[in-house]
Symmetry: C2
């Protein structure tokens, strides 16, 4: 059903977001690159393959356990580029500041961005600042866009999932969403969970050095692992089977999700990558992940199947199966 | 004096903006490319020269005579790339939507962006949408970032102004600022002035085809012609002399500025370019501008001098001179 006004759902990264993109943006801005709906666009400039990506960050609160909106704005865009196998090179940042924001807060966030950029070995080369009157923003919003170079021979895209591919993840699900939620006004429970917010480009480089049979990478941010896998299932026209007892979560995340009525499969991550790799190379890639600081808890969570194309199915611990749909509705507003 | 909270001034593009950039952003994000403070950054990727730029758009109201926030978001970033002599190629767009925004309004704006992109022959290849709760934004904010290719032999930058250069502009000043202001709530005077919002890349291409002795191009947006010229005077370490009777303005813009106590030299433009060209090629470039739809009213407004380096001086009609400073304070909030 087409709605007449924008709802919070439209920004949640699930079904409503997708309907907005396919109903409003794609028909008007129609071009094959945007239509591919990958984490970043693949550009060919005079024979050189570049990836380009953008994301705006509106996370609330702006400081959360394990990170802040500044470092998140670097990690997020670095990761979108890395998901194409690109080496992230240059970022631009655009600030929208609310009148009255404390300058020390801005300075702290810019320092955090700078540290994140140094760690990911990317350069912030362009910046813009706008200020809006009090009450027309919520302290600070940040956009970052980036470009990266895709090495020859690397062909990673959401369309490339193949039957037989093994699906890996580099660690437990839901840390970012639970960390942000745990600090939100009116929900001041203490979980001890920290956001996983991190730049994945060096992990990805290690994985690609181990195997060129990585077909798909996707970072399960808004909408979580469930939504990201549904997107890939649709883009590649394949089925995905997950094994429930293999899905990694921390016990504190499970406990928080239970209390809040959330499913960790739908909770946002900011330092996780889903990897689709040919079965003969799965162990190679898993070993490479285990050797990296951000992949120590990497594991296999499922595989690509020829059954139920376009759908993700979970094999439960008790032998049954259930369909894992895309996120519909707003689970966690302003999580990134 | 260092202030403790962000003020509207910090987004006005004048002195306060510059202090924020040089006091907060540059020290933290220190790198030579960002430090050049040009409209777009010059990148070298494997020997290919690219320009990259970003801008966020928060204009109020979102529809104004001659344009809207959608087309403005395309024009503005296309122009920032063109100011480096780059051929704009690919844009990313990031939307921050306020819950409750009418979907038909969004559709109208996206159509307007698409038309502007087609006209400028750039492709929107990456997009992102966030939604914030009611009262946490003002309907819609748009970021656009872009990359373009700089043709071999083109060397245009704010640092390159040379004594003797002739300063040209492609038409009258202040149309955008007055058009936006004329529709603003509580200021409902009717001027008939339309925004000059337009993509300048084809005009720039014609100018560069006429001469490779164009040293500087700058689009005088926030802070107007006065601020843009002050920036160039500082970057190039030269003086600039303007002739008051040559400064082009429409009579309706003059009348509106007089009523509001504004100086057209400080009012924003979104389809104007200031050109610094070697004197021997000035007529060639001026002729090329006159032949383009967006340059019919192009004229010479001043020249680069060895006196008073870093300063812009106006020769008045009555034979006197006065210093034209950078915009200080907020003249027109949320003009772009």
């Amino acid at each position: 059903m087409k709605v007449s006004r924008i709802q919070l759902d439209h920004g949640a990264g699930g079904r409503a977001s997708q309907e907005l993109v396919s109903g409003t943006f794609l028909p008007a801005l129609e071009n094959p690159i945007l239509g591919e709906l990958n984490d970043s666009a693949l550009l060919d400039i005079k024979g050189m393959r570049l990836a380009m990506s953008t994301d705006s960050y509106v996370v609330d609160p702006i400081f959360f356990p394990g990170g802040d909106i500044g470092s998140l704005a670097i990690h997020g865009t670095v990761n979108d580029l890395a998901m194409r196998g690109a080496q992230p090179l240059y970022l631009s940042v655009g600030f929208i500041l609310e009148e009255g924001l404390e300058v020390v807060v801005l300075e702290r966030l810019v320092d955090s961005m700078a540290a994140a950029a140094r760690e990911a070995e990317v350069k912030v080369v362009a910046a813009d600042t706008k200020v809006v009157p009090r009450g027309k923003a919520d302290r600070i919003y940040i956009n970052s866009a980036g470009i990266g170079a895709i090495p020859p021979g690397v062909e990673v895209a959401g369309q490339n999932g193949q039957v037989g591919d093994v699906v890996l993840i580099n660690g437990p699900m839901g840390d970012h969403g639970v960390a942000v939620l745990s600090t939100r006004e009116g929900l001041s429970f203490q979980t001890g969970v920290k956001s996983d917010s991190a730049s994945l480009n060096t992990l990805v480089a290690d994985m690609l050095a181990a195997s060129r049979k990585i077909h798909v990478m996707r970072d399960p941010t808004r909408g979580g692992v469930a939504t990201a896998l549904n997107e890939v299932a649709l883009q590649s026209g394949v089925g995905i089977r997950l094994e429930e007892q293999r899905l990694p979560t921390r016990s504190a995340v499970n406990a928080a999700c239970e209390m809040l009525g959330l499913d960790p499969l739908y909770v946002a991550n900011e330092g996780k990558v889903l990897v689709f790799v040919a079965p003969e190379d799965a162990d190679l890639v898993l070993s490479a992940m285990h050797r990296h600081r951000l992949g120590r808890e990497a594991c296999k969570i499922g595989e690509v199947v020829s059954d139920h194309p376009g759908r993700v199915v979970l094999q439960t611990g008790i032998g049954g199966t259930r369909i894992v749909d895309m996120l519909s509705g707003e689970q966690l507003p302003r999580i990134c």
